[in-house]
């Protein structure tokens, strides 16, 4: 019973224009197991899930549910065969009642028997021990309960396979415990659960088996009990621990005797990170390391007030400062390159020139527009300096490649001559040559006295550029690594929860 295969996928391939998203991936889900699907962003997890749920069609490979070969052309087909999905963002209607949300769009007749519907809902809620009343409006339930109702909805659709995509990312600890209880209940009923999360501890708490993907390839399927957390991290990152070579020595920046350029004390924001302390000295390059979702982006967002700051103290060169909005940070000489280049960095319809001068222009003031000549001179200067490939300064930003767009945003901040520059994933999704250029630029800036916080998913990059690494896990700082001989293994130890500290 326990080993009965409920979903079997063999040799799955899927490519998008220019990208091989999945290459020859196998995946097996057994009845009554929780199977964690692990991998960093872009590893192919969501592509695989979307093939299982019929959102994407696979290019090659076979897929069978309970031994019967299937080929889904639409999400409805997958749903009808008993595959339920609950996504990170709750896709229910918050202004409808709990019962309506559970049964909406499922009746075969156009008439609704309200009484029966509410009774059924009550029964289901009871049996799954979900603390909600059927007639309650959904928006009055906590996020965790809403999440559970979404699961209940999926389960009641005669669900054999349940996919939970980052269900815990917006839940607090108590709520996670409740959710896990529900998952165990479903497990005992023979439902196969695919669990996707960035939280390693949760994986080990609930999963029976773990499948690891990296760059669209299957790395392997493991029993959760036989794979250590450290091994899992190294498999996800693609570095076997024995192979980790010592990276070239990071530069050590002399810490000046005077106050740090920027300092934060128990800084908090609306995102759910633990309050943290942070310091950076003149000419220092430091970085936040950790897996995606560990809270590294949220930390720098709090520094720049990109997320609303809810508490803590900030100091600039020893003087107390109040940073409530990005403009305050900008005026203090802080620049921020956001992780989401497309959504938060570029203004796609505006020209390269407008994109470069934007922050400088805002600092200069509403009534002091740069002349066209000045703007073009600045643009040409940075196009040359950073070798941005663009037909002209007036070319719309959207027609540039990702790497060149990133350089434009770097140019935007360099033009403001910042004291402190925050670069969140400046090298993501761009070609290797540009990556190296950006790293060199960071070191060069540090030499000129600019302080830089550099975040990258690629640990080697951070080891190469940062003289101090702040390691995060589960939305809090768990360690700090300094010194010349920090290795990737050290970082992984801390990430995996070894509690390893390097003096």
């Amino acid at each position: 019973m326990q080993s009965e295969k409920i979903l079997e996928m063999r040799g799955i391939c899927k490519s998008f224009p220019g990208v091989m998203a999945l290459h020859n991936v196998d995946f097996t889900l057994r009845k009554g197991e929780v199977h964690a699907l692990m991998g960093e962003n872009g590893a192919g997890k969501s592509t695989l899930v979307k093939i299982i749920t019929g959102v994407y069609e696979k290019d090659a490979g076979t897929m069978s549910v309970e031994g019967k070969s299937v080929h889904f052309r639409s999400p409805e087909e997958a749903q009808n065969i008993g595959i339920g999905t609950v996504y990170q963002e709750i896709s229910l209607c918050s202004n409808l009642s709990v019962a309506e949300n559970m049964f909406i769009g499922r009746g075969h007749s156009s008439l609704v028997n309200w009484k029966r519907m509410n009774e059924q809902a009550a029964h289901l809620l009871n049996s799954l021990e979900i603390p909600a009343r059927p007639t309650q409006e959904l928006s009055s339930c906590s996020i965790a309960v809403q999440q559970m109702i979404a699961i209940a909805r999926a389960v009641d659709m005669d669900c054999k396979i349940l996919i939970l995509d980052e269900p815990t990312s917006s839940l607090d600890e108590d709520e996670v415990i409740k959710l896990f209880k529900l998952m165990r209940e479903l497990k005992s009923r023979g439902v196969g659960i695919i669990f996707i999360t960035h939280f390693l501890d949760q994986v080990y708490e609930i999963s029976d088996r773990i499948t690891v993907l990296r760059n669209g390839n299957l790395i392997g399927e493991y029993e959760a009990s036989s794979l250590s957390q450290l091994e899992l991290v190294s498999k996800m990152m693609g570095k076997a621990l024995d192979d980790v070579e010592h990276m070239e020595k990071p530069r050590i920046m002399k810490h000046e005797q005077d106050a740090p350029v920027f300092e934060a004390k128990s800084l908090r924001s609306v995102s759910d990170i633990q309050p943290f302390d942070f310091k950076i000295w003149k000419g220092e390059v430091n970085g936040f390391a950790g897996l995606l979702g560990s809270g590294r982006s949220e930390s720098v967002r709090a520094i720049y007030a990109a997320d609303k700051v809810t508490g803590g103290e900030t100091m600039m060169n020893g003087k107390q400062v109040n940073i409530k909005e990005p403009i305050h940070a900008m005026k203090l000489g802080i620049g921020y390159l956001p992780e989401d280049r497309k959504g938060e960095g570029i203004l796609a319809d505006l020209s390269v020139s407008d994109n470069i001068i934007l922050a400088f222009q805002v600092l200069k003031g509403f009534f002091k527009p740069l002349s066209k000549k000045q703007a073009e001179a600045f643009t040409r200067e940075f196009i040359k300096k950073l070798s941005i490939k663009t037909p002209s300064p007036n070319t719309p930003m959207k027609s540039l490649s990702g790497g060149n767009q990133q350089k434009v945003i770097l140019a935007r901040w360099l033009l403001t001559h910042p004291q402190y520059l925050i670069l969140d994933e400046p090298t993501r999704g761009i070609d290797v040559g540009t990556k190296v250029e950006i790293q060199k630029l960071v070191l060069q800036l540090a030499e000129e006295g600019v302080s830089v916080t550099f975040i990258s998913s690629e640990i080697e990059e951070m080891l190469r550029t940062c003289s101090r690494l702040i390691v995060m896990r589960d939305r809090q700082i768990v360690g700090e690594l300094t010194g010349t001989n920090v290795t990737q293994a050290d970082v992984m130890h801390v990430i995996a929860g070894g509690g390893y500290e390097h003096a």
Binding site: P326, K331, G343, E344, L350, F366, P369
Partner: protein
């Protein structure tokens, strides 16, 4: 126009300009005397002056509508009503002054400034609903659209107060000694003022940034709420100026019909001008040409002796054709067609090499 810093290389303006050309050709076919101008009492009259005269209010409102559209990704449908309210205030100030003495230029200026103040208040009302309370622009402005004409009527106090005054008729008509009708001059002045505002401030950059992506604008230190609010205020002033011109032309304040349906024409002018109604980058020059195009269209239909009862249907047909031609689907299709006919197969490689270079 060049002062308005025409965005890009004028590609946006291809559509309105070519439509304008087509309409002029139609008019010339109807009669070669289309451009002829006659001088009556020292002022110029004829088809072209009539178009410039007739489009005055629409041009001014279209400028504000362009800004609001770009910043708030939606349209203000209360502009006609707003003009009716502001001009009612103007009329009251002038009539009250008239009761106690002669009406002077000073009275008119006072009345105009009062109406501008009311325009600013209306803009602030709409602007705070949209910018602060995040109400969709069309819904937010629907409030005044519904209630506004009653408010104008209440300000009037009686049915259609008449402004029988020499000075008012000069504003709505001709100032002796000046060959161009005053509304045309006022429109020109307004365009120049707006061009100066664009030149000495960063309104265009900030507005476009907010319209394209509020989040990015905020991360770069721009306050999206303030920018949206400001643009609604500017539109409020535009409606006050338009109301002032409209009531001066008419010589009486008809709170029911003054600037009726101008909101629809203004939105259309913005669209014909090549501006996306979903906000972002914009071209005021395009909207101005769009506004004049609409006026030319109206007058062309009249010249073709289409009955007044069917004129709206003809206008609709013309606009449908125009919008389909301008739609992205047709545009990409024609672009492909042009490319295919221009480049012979054996040259394709050379050319594409040259392009990638």
């Amino acid at each position: 126009m060049s002062m308005l810093r025409i965005k890009g290389h004028g590609t946006h303006l291809m559509l309105p300009l070519s439509v304008l050309m087509i309409l002029i050709v139609i008019n010339l076919m109807k009669g070669a005397d289309y451009f002829s101008i006659t001088v009556i009492n020292g002022a110029l009259y004829g088809n072209i002056p009539n178009i410039l005269f007739g489009a005055a209010e629409l041009v001014i409102i279209s400028i504000g509508m362009t800004l609001v559209t770009a910043a708030s990704r939606g349209q203000d449908i209360s502009v006609g009503v707003s003009g009716a309210i502001t001009s009612a205030v103007f009329v009251q100030v002038v009539l009250n002054a008239g009761n106690s003495g002669p009406i002077t230029w000073f009275t008119i200026l006072t009345g105009f400034l009062a109406s501008c103040l009311v325009g600013i208040l209306i803009g602030a009302f709409n602007g705070s609903l949209v910018a602060i309370f995040k109400v969709q622009p069309m819904v937010a402005t629907l409030i005044l659209f519904t209630a506004g004409r009653s408010i104008a009527f209440l300000i009037d106090g009686k049915l259609s107060p008449v402004l029988a005054n020499e000075l008012i008729s000069r504003i709505g008509g001709v100032i002796p000694g000046i060959p161009i009708q005053t509304p045309i001059l006022l429109t020109g002045m307004f365009i120049i003022i707006m061009a100066l505002v664009m030149k000495i401030t960063n309104l265009k950059l900030y507005t476009e940034a907010v319209g394209i992506n509020e989040g990015v604008a905020r991360l770069n230190g721009i306050n999206p709420i303030l920018i949206k609010f400001t643009n609604y205020i500017i539109l409020g002033v535009c409606t006050a100026v338009a109301g002032f011109i409209a009531v001066s032309k008419a010589g009486r304040h008809d709170s029911v019909n003054l600037l009726k349906f101008i909101e629809m024409d203004a939105i259309l002018a913005v669209a014909i001008g090549g501006n996306a109604l979903s906000g972002g980058t914009f071209s005021i020059a395009g909207s101005i040409i769009g506004a004049y195009t609409i006026e030319v269209l109206n007058r062309t239909l009249l010249r073709l002796e289409i009955g007044t009862e069917t004129i709206k249907a003809f206008k609709a047909v013309f606009i449908i054709i125009l919008m389909i031609i301008a739609s992205p689907v047709i545009r990409t299709y024609t672009r492909k067609l042009v490319r295919r006919t221009r480049i012979s197969p054996e040259r394709t490689k050379e050319v594409s090499d040259a392009i990638t270079k």
